[in-house]
């Protein structure tokens, strides 16, 4: 009993060590006081990367939720082949992020990529999707939508399939149109699932690293510089671990704050 009680605790403590030792690294830096944090607040690059991350996260998550919901609705209405469609739509989620990056780097290549060929086919000029500062972030967002929409789709589908059928019958008896059914029955009932999915995806979107690393490397300039990438650079290419750690803590704090706000909002909504 003691052993069994202790083992997981030890494991969690050991796991805690990862954080602690890293906090240790930071505590040595505490001798320089809060200068890192002060520098952080004034760092235009950090601000830009936060801004990019927020844009990226909001854009990508909004797209994923909308598409995922539409797909889930379609899939739940399909009379046949549901299992097949579900399997196909899940596929992108299971692929390594880095492979998604590699694939789209090829697909978006302005010289020979599939996208360029399709544009050429309808007579449009090729676009240097990833190399142009004005389209780079958009491209990364689109790739992320491709990658993660299935995740939203899956959660929504599970939610829709768990909805009680009798409400729908009642709505139909009352002569509700398809749109009214969606607006007044499905959406309210799905609200908890939608909220959870949103928070989940937003947190994950803040962690984005693999795709950006490969697709653009933060560039051109700082057009797609996201926080994970900024932190990575401080740690590993610039060897300013203390500053990077301060950055990590700040990001963690922000994400936690977001979560607290989201949970709080949900509580209030549940109470109301």
């Amino acid at each position: 009993m003691l052993v069994l009680g202790l083992l997981p605790v030890l494991n969690l403590v050991a796991l805690g060590f990862f954080n602690v030792s890293w906090a240790d690294g930071r505590s040595t830096w505490r001798f320089v006081g809060a200068t890192h944090y002060a520098a952080l607040a004034a760092d235009p690059l950090f601000r830009a990367s936060l801004c990019n991350t927020a844009l990226f996260a909001l854009g990508a998550v909004a797209g994923q939720m909308l598409l995922g919901f539409a797909l889930a609705m379609l899939c739940s209405k399909a009379a046949r082949g549901r299992v097949f469609w579900r399997a196909l739509f899940i596929l992108p989620v299971l692929i390594p992020g880095i492979v998604v990056g590699a694939m789209w780097k090829l697909l978006l290549n302005p010289d020979f990529g599939l996208v360029a060929q399709l544009l050429d086919g309808v007579g449009l000029p090729p676009v240097n999707w990833l190399g142009d500062a004005s389209t780079a972030l958009l491209s990364v967002v689109l790739v992320d939508i491709w990658h993660w929409t299935p995740f939203c789709f899956l959660l929504f589908l599970a939610g829709i399939e768990a909805l009680p059928q009798d409400v729908y019958e009642a709505a139909r008896v009352d002569g509700a149109s398809a749109w009214q059914e969606l607006r007044h029955v499905t959406l309210p009932l799905m609200w908890p699932t939608i909220a959870v999915t949103f928070v989940f995806r937003l947190v994950l979107a803040f962690k984005v690293f693999d795709e950006v690393y490969l697709l653009t490397g933060g560039g051109p300039g700082t057009a797609t510089e996201v926080v994970s990438f900024t932190i990575y650079q401080r740690f590993f290419t610039e060897d300013r671990a203390g500053y990077g750690a301060a950055m990590s803590v700040a990001v963690m704090f922000l994400v936690a704050l977001m979560l607290v706000v989201a949970v709080g909002a949900r509580r209030r909504a549940a109470a109301a």
């Binding site: 969690l12 579900r86 399997a87 899940i90 962690k207 990077g244």
Partner: protein
């Protein structure tokens, strides 16, 4: 004329399916091309196995080694993760810990899940170095197990809580010690949970990049790291990149075919809680 019911639905699904499948098809096809044919952008090409052959068998390519590394790390970290998560979940949910301990652990697991892995990688790198585990598979196994533990802990918690208390008490009355109880009563009951959590841990470990990038070197690199290297060589070898990308998606396909049920269960369970 009215179209039969459901035409719109199927058209929509087909369109979406095309969006998902076309990029795959194009990249896989690119793997069967030669560099020149790809760069020329000819629609028609003579398929060749050269790129795949080079990725798999050439002396300069480490793909097979990378795949082996990935497999070892994924299997070992999944096993470690499941063992720790099951025992941990049992302990948290069934051994009267004070409430704040339980909630503290679970909340902390959730928080840990939110941290960008790259922020931890720096700390791990320093630690692994100190412990002589840098550039070893063991270091990466530990890192991946730690990364996936929160998810597994939450999932196993759901299943452990569903084990009927009467069964546990009956086994106790029959004189079962805790290890016997866990082995013969609890384990069979939480097996579906183990499958779901295991599949997810495996896939996440196989896919993980940030920790693998920082904790490995040439001969311990995993597949994602190798692919990133491919894409960053000065002279990008596009077809080899396409071929190795296609190959590295094979486990995902296998998992999808063999364990779709568990994947769906795992992903939705993780979010519903």
């Amino acid at each position: 004329m009215r179209l039969p019911r459901g035409t719109g639905i199927h058209a929509g699904l087909l369109l979406a399916g095309l969006f998902v499948a076309a990029p795959f098809a194009w990249v896989v096809a690119a793997g069967f091309r030669t560099q020149i044919s790809l760069l020329m952008g000819d629609a028609w090409f003579e398929p060749t196995l050269d790129a795949f052959r080079e990725v798999l068998f050439s002396k300069t390519s480490g793909f097979v080694l990378n795949a082996r590394n990935s497999l070892v790390v994924a299997l070992a970290s999944t096993a470690l993760c499941l063992a720790a998560a099951t025992l941990g979940a049992w302990s948290l949910h069934r051994m009267r810990w004070p409430r704040w301990v339980v909630h503290g652990f679970l909340a902390w697991a959730l928080l840990f899940q939110m941290i960008p892995p790259i922020t931890l990688a720096g700390g791990w790198f320093v630690m692994a170095r100190a412990a002589g585990l840098d550039n070893t598979l063991l270091g990466l196994v530990l890192a991946h197990a730690a990364l996936n533990l929160p998810l597994a802990l939450w999932m196993m918690g759901v299943f452990v809580r569903d084990v009927p208390q009467e069964l546990v008490e009956a086994a106790r009355l029959d004189g079962a010690t805790t290890p016997v109880l866990l082995r013969h009563v609890v384990l069979p009951l939480v097996a579906p949970g183990l499958a779901a959590a295991g599949v997810l841990c495996f896939v996440f470990s196989w896919n993980e990049f940030a920790a693998a990038l920082t904790l490995t070197m040439k001969d311990t690199a995993t597949v994602p790291v190798a692919i990133a290297k491919f894409a960053q060589d000065f002279e990008i070898r596009y077809v080899q990149m396409a071929a190795s990308a296609a190959l590295s998606a094979v486990p995902a396909l296998l998992v999808l075919l063999l364990a779709q049920r568990w994947i769906v269960k795992g992903l939705t369970l993780g979010a519903v809680k």
